[in-house]
Symmetry: C2
Subunit: 355 residues, 2 copies
């Protein structure tokens, strides 16, 4: 089945999303911020975290799971630490505020650790660490989710105990920064869902059934009874489990709360920020990172590969292409956007010029 | 082939190692520190980083690659950061000083980042982060190696560009801390060597030959021509590569040096330390971590497993057993120790009571 795609310029998607979020009660600057976040994910090629989420985010507002305009409270708990209570405002609004706080602290004190409370879906974690790298800082981010998303098995277990708990980092370089962003499971649930929706078998090693036996059948994961997604690492899955557990603890226990508590809502983000200027001149650091990147890329390619790509490189390439060519969207999602626009009295014609 | 094993109490190994290192010119307290580090690794069951390294470390002294008693310079580069120049003293001496510096900084300022220069083989990275966790702090550690150890392939490449670059972290809990410590490759080179020495095939997915084709033959890795060890992650090896690259950058570029420079010596360690008391009362944190551990362990076991173990748990069990039963050592290594003892005029009889 081939899905019809429409293509619009990034700027149009930003206008559409901002107008819709604003019409649904979001203050203008916040509506624009969330729109930018979704568009940036689409530009980077991460469609699953991109503009296709516009209808979902509008539904969150309707359902009251996101509170547009909610006050965000930044509690500086020491010289170098802060807790950002996002009040269930949009995740992009809360997480942006958290990384900005981390950047401010790291500029003043060289290292920072900032956590979030009541932060809604943050989207692509890489976006926030990239912001820090563009401010000449190294940032590491972790993001957990509460019990409803615990699809990922602990190593040696067959019942889900962790979310796909992504880890991201960004590092300034002489050119584009390095931006890594990946789940600590072998694959994110979204990719399992794509196979499920397309009725395609999964690669072996992604999931097990409820009894813990390997399967390629997405129905064995979704159940009932529900199976689980394996931690990153295959036969070394104890390493992926260790990473996922760290992400969970930095997301909840560090704030004195539990990811299994039904009152715990949203993503628990933790940003660690370090100023490389505390260790060497920032230009030296950028040059050494660029040299490291060049060394990685100097490896002859493995069979089936054209070249070595460092984390973030493919995203920057996609971004440059989509900035020229526009962002694709599937017809059902576009129709859902049109329905919301009708409901909210927003005219899409004035905001878009289909390419 | 069954190797004969001797077994001695941990305290005897500590006395033997300390006496030998001291006889070889190491100041007493430093000799004792290095001995403790090796014995602790053996107690934890990590024999490859344990007392079997005693002859190797004595050889390092002879060869001049380790400088016992070398001054260690702690440069506080800001309120929250430090660079510890270990002067090619023993890695255990330098890395201990670095984590102690990180602990001191984090107690005063809540977060810390400490790197090392000219640090010799640090042994088991988990040891240092555990020290921080026993001081009620969260610590994350990374450790790279210069170009001579670049056995690990970048994702999409077939020429080694990274060492096995371990990552470790430790987190205080109500009981034993969580202590994770793992290479960011699918397996450390030491495990490949064990298979090689025993003439056993490797599991598929550990190495590729020089052309980048999967192999189970250790000769295809050691060559010539040399193959490579794959990054952690199997089909998601881009994630292991991203982790290994982060470890390399924190170990060298952050200090303004390059892991490909022939002048770069030893392990580049980076410690990130965070005081959880900046976020919630430390007892609350400990309880929440214990609750998280209990939740992980509440998962029914997967086929082939008896229970879920959190990182560090197997090591603490082995430690308790070996504290009772003693530490095993193979006959050839014991003979090498005896030869060094003869050479250095150290009487092993007075120091040991074989069990």
């Amino acid at each position: 089945m081939r899905t019809t795609l429409r293509i619009f310029p990034a700027a149009d998607f930003e206008s559409v999303a901002a107008a819709l979020f604003q019409a649904a009660g979001t203050p203008g600057p916040e509506a624009r911020r969330v729109a930018q976040s979704l568009v940036r994910s689409s530009l980077a090629g991460h469609d699953s975290h991109g503009v296709l989420r516009i209808p979902e985010y509008l539904r969150f507002i309707n359902e009251g799971t996101v509170s547009p305009g909610a006050a965000i409270e930044v509690r500086r708990t020491s010289d170098t630490t802060a807790v950002v209570d996002c009040g269930q405002n949009f995740g992009a609004v809360g997480a942006s505020r958290a990384i900005e706080t981390g950047i401010e602290i790291a500029r003043a004190h060289r290292t920072a650790c900032v956590t979030t409370l009541r932060c809604s879906h943050v989207g692509r974690l890489g976006e926030y660490v990239e912001t820090a790298a563009r401010s000449d800082l190294i940032a590491i981010a972790t993001c957990n989710s509460p019990i409803g998303g615990h699809f990922v098995l602990p190593w040696g277990g067959r019942e889900g105990r962790l979310a796909t708990n992504p880890l991201a980092y960004a590092i300034p370089s002489a050119g584009d920064p390095i931006v890594a962003d990946f789940s600590t499971s072998v694959a994110p649930e979204g990719k399992v869902r794509v196979h499920h929706n397309q009725d395609k078998p999964l690669p072996l090693g992604w999931i097990v059934d409820a009894d813990g036996h390997p399967s390629t059948d997405t129905n064995k994961f979704y159940g009932p009874p529900r199976g689980g997604i394996l931690p990153l690492g295959g036969s070394a899955g104890h390493k992926g489990f260790a990473l996922g557990l760290l992400v969970d603890i930095l997301g909840c226990a560090l704030n004195g709360i539990s990811s299994t508590d039904p009152d715990t809502l949203g993503n628990g983000v933790c940003f660690l920020v370090v100023d490389p200027a505390a260790f060497c001149p920032v230009d030296t650091f950028r040059q050494e990172v660029a040299r490291t990147i060049a060394y990685m890329k100097s490896s002859a390619p493995a069979p089936g590969f054209d070249e070595v790509l460092v984390p973030g490189e493919i995203e920057f390439r996609t971004m440059r292409r989509r900035e020229e060519e526009g962002i694709p969207i599937d017809e059902p999602t576009w129709q859902a956007i049109e329905e919301h626009a009708d409901r909210l009295g927003v005219s899409l014609e004035e905001l878009t010029r289909e390419e």
